[in-house]
């Protein structure tokens, strides 16, 4: 009965979502406060209904109810508890239910925290969010119901893909979905603003926290995925420009652009139309990401689902929301007047440059990702667009953007002073030039790595110099406002990330060796000994575990065999050091008896690789601090706004 109850709740949620949508939009149009409040109430209850539906699916996975199709296809009794729970969203149907749930939760949050936005804008935004939720539920119910039964029920299940049985990957999808679906709130606010025909500072103030939530969760989700790829896939890489990685990276770039343009719109009223457009495009890219990952249109390690009918349905959703949004934009945007009055050298211009850079970078990733699909559809020609393409196009674009980045904070709004900025930033420029010279002359690195490293140092030092300028003295640094720290953490993170990426990519070492137990190899100035190989039995796998000593420290690496799904995986051994990671992957043994078998061992030295993840973490921290700042301001403003609507 439980699964049927889940299906019933989902159907109920579908009706509720469209009621919320209809009420909200009608209330906004007729300026009916009572109906608006009703719409908000429906939104709040609907989140609870979907939460219950989702809890039912989790319980079906916990009990491993094989009569439910999605459980039988993705779970097994022997699976550890964490992965039984994570199995709920480790498949198409469950992840779509999660999409609906997150959308409903955001609708309820939007309904609960109107902040300082106008009544009708708020009603309309809640209404649009209801339509978004409703369309997603309709898709889930009609084309990928997680509650479908199997008759007769199979005796055993197929297990979750073992690569996904990992703590980082258990929380990677929820994070990404928070980000993807989080972008539906700026979208709803943009559509509501276009309906109102008015975009002002208050609108931009309302859109910023929602954008930040989406951007922070996307940052965390992408970083977790990247870190997982680094330690799980066994070759020490952290980014491959795989279409599925790009699918999450594009909304991230668009959200980063939106964060910055919304600041300009809030402070100065400028760029209003562009900010609206970015909000529509950002959600469009999130839907495109869902389409790319969930339709099976890509052949890649990540695309586990193949089903064209679903793909067409998601494309139809994309066309409906983005096409509809852009039509409304084309109709209403020319009426959005923007106040002017700033000089070419100003914070405004710097943020325009930021948006040019991020928008072109997003476009480049989009074209590189879709081009092979388009070409195949139109001409049947198969090509690959891989890392070499993105490295030579996206890389220089980011370098340009990052050269401009540290300058922006030094420029005042309306009228900046470049000479004053240079007076401070020259020290960052000297440091960057010094690092570049050292890289080229002493380390004999390639020229692009010297440039990348210089750009990273420039961004990092530039952000620190700005802190120094703002504080004036060491004593006053702690007294600087939180908003300043939010920006500084994010920009320092960008610098740290760039330094790590440049160093790791150009100075990594790798070596493959055939090792008998008891033998050693010299690698990257260390002595690596294969001490022993043992057989290990896990909860749902068997493994061969190699014990290495690197100089005097012990590292273990495994090859696992998951007996239910019949797939092997590698569990690498990583020894973190200050200068980088020693990374060991155990390969296959040669022919022969146990004592005489040589094992293929791949050794990597990944210098400063932790800077990459630390940099991304700092960016997320900066975003989270920014969220605290905006939440505090929201609390301060909420009281007067309520008073104003009451009179």
């Amino acid at each position: 009965m439980t699964a049927e109850l889940g299906g019933f709740l989902l159907a109920l949620a579908l009706v509720m979502a469209f009621v919320q949508g209809g009420l909200g939009l009608y209330a906004g149009w007729r300026r009916d406060e009572g109906l608006g409040a009703a719409s908000a109430g429906v939104a709040q209850s609907n989140a609870i209904i979907l939460l219950a539906a989702f809890a039912i699916l989790v319980s079906l996975f916990l009990r491993t109810d094989y009569s439910v199709a999605v459980v039988a296809a993705n779970s097994h009794v022997a699976k550890p508890l964490l992965y039984k729970i994570a199995g709920t969203w480790g498949n198409h149907e469950g992840s779509m239910l999660m999409w609906c749930l997150v959308s409903a939760i955001f609708a309820a949050l939007l309904a609960s925290f109107p902040g300082g936005m106008g009544r009708t804008l708020w009603n309309r935004a809640v209404g649009v969010q209801g339509v978004v939720t409703g369309v997603a539920i309709a898709y889930t119910l009609l084309l990928s119901s997680p509650f479908a039964r199997l008759d007769p029920a199979p005796l055993t299940g197929k297990d979750l893909n073992p690569l996904l049985q990992d703590p980082a990957l258990a929380i990677h999808p929820p994070m990404l979905y928070l980000g993807y679906v989080g972008l539906s709130v700026p979208f709803s606010l943009a559509i509501a603003a276009l309906m109102e025909g008015k975009v002002d500072g208050a609108w931009a103030r309302a859109v910023r926290p929602w954008t930040l939530i989406a951007w922070v969760t996307l940052t965390l989700g992408i970083t977790l995925g990247s870190y997982w790829a680094y330690y799980e896939l066994g070759w020490g890489g952290w980014w491959f420009w795989d279409p599925v990685e790009n699918a999450s990276f594009m909304p991230w770039l668009a959200a980063a652009a939106l964060l910055h343009s919304a600041i300009v719109t809030e402070r100065r009223g400028s760029m209003a139309a562009w900010t609206i457009l970015l909000a529509i495009i950002g959600f469009g890219l999130a839907l495109l990401g869902t389409f790319l990952v969930r339709s099976g249109v890509l052949t890649s390690v990540h695309a586990f689902a193949v089903d064209p009918q679903r793909g067409y349905a998601i494309l139809a959703m994309l066309a409906f929301f983005v096409g509809g949004g852009l039509m409304l934009y084309a109709w209403r945007a020319p009426r959005l007047t923007e106040p002017s009055g700033f000089l070419l050298v100003s914070r405004e211009s710097a943020l325009v440059a930021n948006n040019v850079g991020l928008a072109v970078a997003t476009g480049t990733v989009l074209i590189g990702t879709l081009y092979p699909l388009m070409l195949e559809a139109l001409t049947d020609r198969l090509i690959s667009v891989g890392p070499p393409f993105f490295n030579v196009t996206f890389g220089p674009l980011m370098a340009l953007l990052f050269i401009a980045l540290p300058i922006a904070p030094f420029l005042a709004w309306r009228r900046g002073d470049l000479k004053e900025a240079w007076r401070w930033l020259q020290w960052a420029a000297y440091a960057a030039a010094g690092v570049a010279v050292v890289t080229l002359a002493l380390l004999r690195g390639p020229i692009w790595s010297a440039l990348g490293l210089a750009v990273g140092v420039w961004v990092l030092f530039g952000a620190l110099l700005y802190a120094w300028k703002r504080a004036g003295s060491f004593a006053r640094i702690a007294a600087l406002p939180l908003a300043f720290w939010a920006m500084t953490a994010a920009h320092v993170g960008a610098g740290v990330f760039t330094i790590g990426a440049a160093v790791e990519t150009s100075f990594r070492k790798e070596q493959a060796a055939q090792m008998l137990p008891g033998t050693s190899v010299e690698f990257a100035g260390r002595r690596v000994t294969l001490d022993d190989i043992t057989n290990v039995e896990g909860p749902n796998y068997f493994a061969q575990r190699a014990i290495f000593s690197v100089d005097n420290r012990i590292v273990t690496a495994e090859r696992r065999f998951y007996n239910i799904s019949g797939t092997p995986t590698t569990e690498v051994g990583i020894l973190g050091e200050f200068t980088g990671d020693i990374y060991i992957a155990l390969g296959a043994p040669s022919e022969g008896t146990v004592g005489t078998r040589a094992w293929t061992v791949r050794l990597y030295f990944n210098p400063l690789v932790q800077w990459i993840f630390a940099g991304a973490g700092l960016m997320a921290l900066g975003g989270a601090l920014g969220l605290v700042v905006l939440a505090r301001r929201g609390v301060k403003r909420a009281a007067p706004a309520v008073a104003a609507t009451a009179t």
Binding site: D242, R381, P387, R415, F542
Partner: protein, 142 residues
């Protein structure tokens, strides 16, 4: 059961990852750069430099064979494209069907730059003609 699983582990694993390196260090460096640009044809979106599949090992050996035979990088790319199709090259070759791809980033940048410049230009003249120079506005210190 354990024995069967371990046997399966031995069988499913690919052959040795290492292949005989190219004779000189410079040649091996060239080979590694090429490995990263050539897609393993039996894997899911992996270059042969990363794949543990036997096929990838054969392809890496082939790269070193071509280098030893004196081929240039371009000739080796062409060799692989002739054999396995353009799909095998992660760096798409410039051709009638890829010029739009390679040209797109520069075109986008030019378009965005010109659009932004014209907007900024209008804004500046509007600001300067209307009133005096706008006063600078600094971020609040708390």
């Amino acid at each position: 059961m354990i024995r069967a699983a371990l046997l399966a582990l031995a069988l499913t694993a690919g052959p040795a990852f290492a292949q005989t390196p190219a004779p000189t260090l410079a040649q091996e460096e060239r080979a590694r750069a090429l490995d990263a640009e050539i897609r393993c044809v039996v894997c899911e979106n992996e270059p042969i430099s990363q794949s543990t599949a036997g096929m990838a090992g054969d392809m890496r050996a082939l790269v070193r064979e071509r280098i030893a035979a004196g081929d240039t990088d371009a000739e080796i790319r062409a060799f692989f494209a002739d054999r396995y199709g353009d799909f095998v090259l992660l760096r798409p070759r410039a051709s009638a069907s890829t010029w739009a791809l390679w040209g797109a980033p520069a075109l986008l940048l030019a378009f965005a730059g010109v659009t932004a410049a014209s907007l900024l230009r209008r804004r500046r003249t509007a600001g300067a003609a209307g009133e005096d120079l706008p006063a600078p506005e600094h971020d609040a210190d708390r």
